[in-house]
């Protein structure tokens, strides 16, 4: 497993356990006691470390290479997933994947940023950084869901929209703006989950749901801590300070009423127990969908619009 800087003391202990196990395999020394003592220590350390992660540490966890990405959630939570491709104008962009499927028995449209998990898939999905065609595909699929009265589930996980010449030439800004507009316009339940990194405009393009959930160690921000630091501190070295100031953690965003609820992660983060993460998220999405079930489409749309229209205006001082 990829070890983050602040996880090194935990990894060392885990290494010791591994060594002991190796020894006991070789001889017949009884080390069960020692192992369980060490394991308890690991658990305690893991729990205490993850209970008080700093915003910068959370940024690392949110970007952890082994953290489950959109396709992992889709393959576990969605039956009969049927990917749908293309924006019908220019290209298919695999940085955003989307399609129809069944969530706990009901049809849903799932749309999410996919970062990829190894070199090949990362390149294929352009590291989760979508181009205009990705956002235009998302818009097309949301409109289809609206047409067929199918709820929409979006999984947000991107460092940001792709900053490139081709993306600009094809109207990155317009594509994002239209995607936001469509998210706010559909008359079906829209649930958004920030599963990892919610990076700026590229993230909010898919994130204006009736219900916005956020995983415990995910981040969501107007700009990356590095980007913010290089502009305001004139040095990317201050990313840690920027992360503190930006208030990008799920806990902060919940306090600010930007998200509706925080979905707990397994001890030590989603990457340490993917199965448990899947189950927890499944329950959270189910409960959100249930809350919106039976609400008339026009009301869903009006409530969603009202919620975002009020954002930043009320509840702050």
């Amino acid at each position: 497993m990829h070890i983050l800087e602040f996880e090194k003391p935990i990894a060392e202990l885990e290494g010791k356990i591994e060594e002991l196990r190796h020894l006991s395999d070789a001889g017949d020394v009884n080390i069960a006691d020692e192992v369980s003592k060490l394991q308890a220590k690991v658990d305690k350390l893991l729990r205490s470390t993850y209970a008080k992660l700093t915003p910068w540490q959370k940024t690392q966890v949110a970007r952890h290479p082994e953290r489950p990405h959109a396709l992992a959630y889709i393959s576990t939570l969605i039956e009969d997933f049927t990917p749908l491709a293309g924006d019908r104008a220019f290209a298919e962009d695999q940085a955003i994947i989307g399609g129809l499927g069944r969530f706990r028995g009901r049809s849903v449209m799932v749309i999410g940023h996919e970062k990829g998990h190894d070199t090949e898939s990362r390149l294929k999905h352009n590291f989760g950084m979508a181009k205009p065609e990705g956002y235009r595909k998302a818009r097309r699929l949301m409109e289809m869901a609206d047409h067929f009265q199918v709820p929409i589930l979006t999984l947000v996980d991107t460092a940001g929209a792709y900053p490139g010449v081709d993306a600009e030439a094809r109207g990155q800004a317009e594509a994002i703006a239209r995607s936001i507009e469509t998210c706010l316009d559909v008359r079906v339940p829209l649930i958004s989950v920030i599963i990892g990194e919610g990076g700026s405009g590229g993230a909010i393009a898919l994130a204006t749901g009736n219900t916005v959930l956020m995983l415990e160690h995910a981040i969501y921000s107007v700009i990356s801590p590095e980007g913010c630091a290089s502009i305001l501190w004139r040095s990317a070295e201050n990313a840690k300070d920027a992360a503190e100031q930006l208030r990008l953690t799920a806990q902060d965003l919940h306090k600010l009423n930007i998200i509706d609820s925080v979905v707990p992660e397994p001890m030590g983060g989603a990457h340490r127990n993917t199965d448990l993460m899947m189950q927890t998220l499944s329950m959270a999405v189910e409960s959100a969908l249930r809350d919106l079930g039976g609400v008339e489409g026009g009301v869903l749309r009006a409530r969603r619009r009202e919620k975002f229209l009020e954002m930043g205006r009320a509840g702050l001082s």
Partner: protein, 308 residues
């Protein structure tokens, strides 16, 4: 009145005046402006008359909000709307300086509360609401106050049954308001959609610069998108793109003309023609569906009747 008499008015010493005569570059900044486009020195009166457009190369320099609105409305007459107060520095943000101090500084420097001015008045006799960004106020960046300005302008347009014109000049979201700035993208999108739902025209005049979160929300959602010549319009900043692709950007990249060529704006209009262009568009959209005079149709020939 020429620039000599103007110089006399400044009542400076004879020596200074002489220096001014032989070396115009050393007279105070407010008398001569160097065009960033061609480097020519332009006398301030000439520049003002040309609405801050260089008479030599046509370069469009930034225009103050006051001049911008004055140039658009009939007889330069408009009324500013007082905007609702919003919380200052909601995150208590501090980089090398406190955001609250930065705000205080910018406020005393500009005499404005934030980066947007909302006004209403008449254009070609029609009631119009306009929201104009002030780039001098923290780069025209969008935080809660700017979002509030767009919302107020949209609500006023709906209330007055008037078209809405928004004139962005903004680097994007205001970082010091964090996620609350990002949320303004959604907020302003809903606001301008309310105008569109009433079938009232929503015109965006994209000025230099319109980038980041501003371009990726209400600014790119106009029924009509007009850009000023040479304005930088785009999502990602040029430096970010350069460092991502590690190559030089194409000539004219993200300029208004580049966007026109790529189908992203309806037209690029020189400043002197903006007012007339907007009035023409507004009147075309306003008079839709109105009954015209009956015109006798040509008598059907058996041929054309068959074709159906």
């Amino acid at each position: 009145m020429n620039w000599l008499t103007n110089l006399n008015e400044t009542r400076r010493s004879l020596k200074e005046r002489l220096v001014g005569l032989v070396a115009p570059k050393e007279v105070p900044d407010n008398l001569w402006h160097k065009c960033p486009g061609c480097g020519h020195m332009i006398f301030h009166r000439d520049l003002e008359k040309a609405l801050n457009v260089c008479q030599h190369c046509g370069h469009h320099m930034r225009l103050s909000v006051k001049k911008r609105l004055g140039m658009l409305f009939d007889d330069g007459q408009f009324q500013r709307i007082e905007l609702p107060k919003v919380p200052d520095d909601p995150l208590k943000f501090k980089d090398q300086k406190r955001y609250s101090d930065r705000l205080k500084d910018t406020r005393s420097k500009t005499g404005e509360v934030d980066a947007i001015v909302v006004a209403h008045g008449r254009m070609g006799g029609m009631n119009v609401v306009a929201a104009c960004f002030n780039f001098d106020f923290q780069g025209g960046s969008m935080g809660i106050a700017v979002g509030e300005g767009i919302v107020a302008a949209a609500e006023l347009a709906v209330l007055q049954d008037a078209p809405l014109i928004v004139i962005p000049a903004s680097g994007g979201a205001r970082m010091q308001e964090g996620i609350l700035s990002l949320m303004q993208m959604a907020r302003t999108t809903v606001a301008v959609d309310k105008v569109k739902e009433k079938r009232l025209p929503y015109i965006v005049l994209l000025t230099d610069p319109t980038t980041g979160g501003v371009s990726a929300s209400f600014a790119m959602l106009g029924d009509i998108a007009i850009a000023e010549p040479g304005a930088v319009i785009g999502f990602a900043g040029a430096r970010v793109i350069e460092s991502t692709i590690r190559e030089k950007l194409p000539e004219g990249f993200q300029k208004a003309e580049y966007l026109l060529e790529h189908g992203m704006v309806d037209m690029v209009v020189p400043r002197r023609d903006l007012r007339a262009t907007m009035i023409r568009i507004l009147s075309l959209l306003k008079n839709r569906g109105a009954a015209g005079d009956l015109v006798a149709l040509p008598i059907d020939t058996p041929d054309s009747a068959d074709q159906d």
